[in-house]
């Protein structure tokens, strides 16, 4: 079981209550597809991903970015059992989507950078530590059902 301090719990709830999902979600996925272009392999039917401008203005990318971000809501609401919360999603990513679990970290690194840009000075070292710890638990849970 993951031990969360009061500060960490409060920080995670705070961040997710403040961010605009329709901005952060699309920005995160777009950034991931630009910075780590091999991730585009999972989005063959998304249309025009030829360059950064196309990716950033692609409506399917935007829509999916928001979906992914909302996927984190479950973990935010169930911080004491993220492992089981994501068991099904882990199976999905492994068996159906065939996503290399190393890619999860790439996406969460982009999320960290987007949230940092949004929060500015409020994204202190301590806040960053809490956020990255949370994301690491999510990433680990999503990779758990791979075999």
């Amino acid at each position: 079981m993951v031990e969360w301090t009061d500060f960490e719990r409060a920080t995670i709830q705070d961040i997710f209550s403040k961010i605009d999902y329709d901005i952060v979600g699309p920005a995160t996925l777009a950034r991931c597809l630009v910075v780590y272009p091999w991730c585009q392999r999972y989005f063959g039917n998304f249309g025009n991903l030829y360059n950064a401008a196309a990716i950033s203005s692609n409506p399917m990318v935007a829509k999916h970015g928001t979906i992914i971000l909302h996927g984190l809501d479950r973990a935010v609401k169930n911080m004491d059992d993220i492992k089981n919360t994501y068991a099904e999603l882990s199976v999905l990513h492994s068996e159906k989507l065939h996503v290399d679990p190393d890619n999860f970290k790439l996406l969460t690194d982009c999320l960290t950078i987007v949230v940092a840009g949004q929060m500015g000075k409020g994204f202190t070292g301590e806040v960053q530590a809490a956020f990255q710890k949370f994301l690491a638990v999510v990433v680990s849970s999503l990779g758990r059902q791979y075999h």
């Binding site: 950034r31 630009v34 910075v35 950064a52 940092a116 960053q128 530590a129």
Partner: protein
């Protein structure tokens, strides 16, 4: 990993021109963050009395590291040759595990996102990420 394209180099040089004025602040914040978010990195600084974010050694060293990055920007056309002596320093004297280069790079990117939210676009991000990775590779060159 891929090498830097001419476009990458131009992007890095022009972005660096915009941000180099704040290099010291970037370095100090990135190093402080690294010590907080990745506590295992503190093992390299056991000889410092004070590892807290605003402390003198952390500030000074953040500046040192960032000056190294600035130096690397100037040597961007041949990082391996340009960073030879820095590589020897890290390989034989400091013996920093190269896995940590990724960590400090990540924190530099986070600080750039915070300090330059409008300029640190995805395009700048990818070029800077590639540059820092190439820098890390050049730094690890003399390890073995």
């Amino acid at each position: 990993m891929t090498s830097l394209t001419p476009k990458d180099k131009d992007t890095v040089r022009s972005f660096w021109a915009k941000v180099s004025g704040k290099a010291e602040d970037i370095g100090m914040d990135a190093l402080a963050r690294m010590l907080i978010v990745y506590p295992q990195t503190k093992t390299y600084f056991a000889h410092w009395k004070d590892l807290s974010p605003g402390s003198a050694p952390v500030k000074k060293h953040g500046i040192t590291v960032m000056n190294g990055v600035g130096f690397a920007v100037e040597k961007i056309d041949d990082l391996k040759a340009g960073l030879l002596s820095l590589s020897e320093l890290h390989a034989f004297t400091l013996r920093v595990d190269p896995a940590n280069f990724k960590i400090i790079s990540h924190n530099i990117l986070v600080v750039l996102a915070i300090m330059f939210p409008n300029e640190f676009t995805p395009q700048v991000h990818v070029s800077m990420d590639k540059f820092l990775a190439a820098l890390a590779l050049a730094l690890a060159e003399k390890y073995r």
